[in-house]
């Protein structure tokens, strides 16, 4: 049910995002924006220089893989499976979910899933744009200014990260609850 390009980019993306997030948390800890730090065991890189080396190496993997995904999504028409269904359908599905009647099955995405995937894709775009603004606040100063300047870009980057982290928790939880979709993403079909 999941074609090979989707499975391949999905798992590369998973590895890249975990590495970006853990190294990003180590960078955050060097100068925490908010009143907390991430636990050291959840960070990657060991010290600031190592964390940045990871972050700026993995960004190429993340972006390259993301581009492949986008090209496939648009070229193959796969995006239609993810296209949002509108507020009415979302409300119907929310009601169904509250009654534990919302189907979660391989090969088809319900309205809530579609909405969730669109939100996380948008967060992915925002994390990329804000990341570019933080990396190149002078060369890409128009982009940085559009995000409210360097200091706001830090916050946008953090919030987009938090959305992706929240999605990841939800997404992994759902996949474990409905293992057939997990096999679909690994094998491309249901486990026989």
């Amino acid at each position: 049910m999941q074609p090979i390009p989707i499975r391949l980019t999905h798992w590369i993306n998973a590895a890249a995002i975990i590495g970006m997030m853990m190294s990003g948390w180590a960078i955050y800890n060097a100068s925490p924006l908010f009143g907390f730090s991430f636990p050291r065991w959840a960070t990657l890189g060991g010290w600031l220089g190592g964390a940045i080396a990871w972050h700026l190496a993995l960004m190429w993997l993340l972006v390259g893989n993301g581009l492949l995904y986008a090209v496939y999504l648009l070229g193959s028409g796969y995006y239609r499976r993810l296209r949002p269904l509108g507020p009415g359908a979302v409300l119907d599905d929310v009601r169904a979910a509250l009654r534990f009647r919302l189907p979660h099955q391989a090969g088809e995405y319900n309205a809530i899933q579609r909405l969730t995937y669109c939100v996380v894709l948008l967060a992915g775009v925002m994390v990329l744009l804000s990341g570019l603004a933080l990396w190149k606040p002078v060369q890409l100063q128009t982009l940085a200014a559009a995000l409210g300047g360097y200091e706001w870009a830090r916050r946008v980057h953090f919030i987009a990260m938090a959305v992706i982290a929240g999605f990841t928790v939800l997404h992994v939880g759902m996949a474990l609850l409905v293992p057939s979709v997990l096999w679909g993403m690994i094998l491309g079909r249901a486990r026989t």
């Binding site: 100068s31 065991w41 080396a53 190429w60 190149k136 002078v138 100063q141 200091e151």
Partner: protein
Amino acid sequence: MGHDLGAGTDMIGDQDHRRALRLLERRLLLRRGLSLSALGLLTGCNLQDGDAVDRLLWSMSRWNDRVQAWLFDPNRLAPTYAARDITTPFPFNAYYPEDDAPEIDADDYRLAVSGRVSDTAPWTLARLRALPQQGQITRHICIEGWSAIGQWSGVPLRVFLERVGADLRAGFVGFKCADRYYSSIDMATALHPQTNLALDFGTAPLPTKYGFPLKLRVPTKLGFKNPKHIVAIIVTNDNPGGYWEDQGYNWFSGS
């Protein structure tokens, strides 16, 4: 960002020694960086020796140097700010506490110039002040993530390099400092109109904590590429590295 420091006395001296040292530091860097069992689980690599991963990260950092040099627009100016935007107090940052910042006697101070230049005569502060001066109010961005707006003025580095007859086609300009810190930048950045050998912070001479008597102000690079207490400048084709750069911070670190 401040980790500014001065250069060691042999910063630009024995290249072989430096290279060996850098390899050693790189190895230590990566070990520290990779002592993460979760990563081992993730990649299936044997992380007992982080050398392969370290080498990969190091070469990706060199790739990022090249990408950044390509992205660097020699005419694009860093955004400037109004006097009311200046961060007060401006943060102190170095690899040592503020009390350890070097005290330099203004009368005894001499700036040494070496490498690919035609005039190696040392510079007094009076001679530096006699050169054309230029000021800026720009954002200092630390590799740690924080930023602060400050005001600096002094001699545009391009003016200084032209004055000493520097080879402007050389690859690098290196700086060594009284506190054993050292750093270096690419020639394109050295010639950028906002790259400045700052003598003043605000409207007064640099105080000790901000790098008296001479600090490099480069608003197109991260703070650690803005060395303080500069006592020597070298123009060279061999990358002089830097205090943090040799430990694993990305060398170009351009904004």
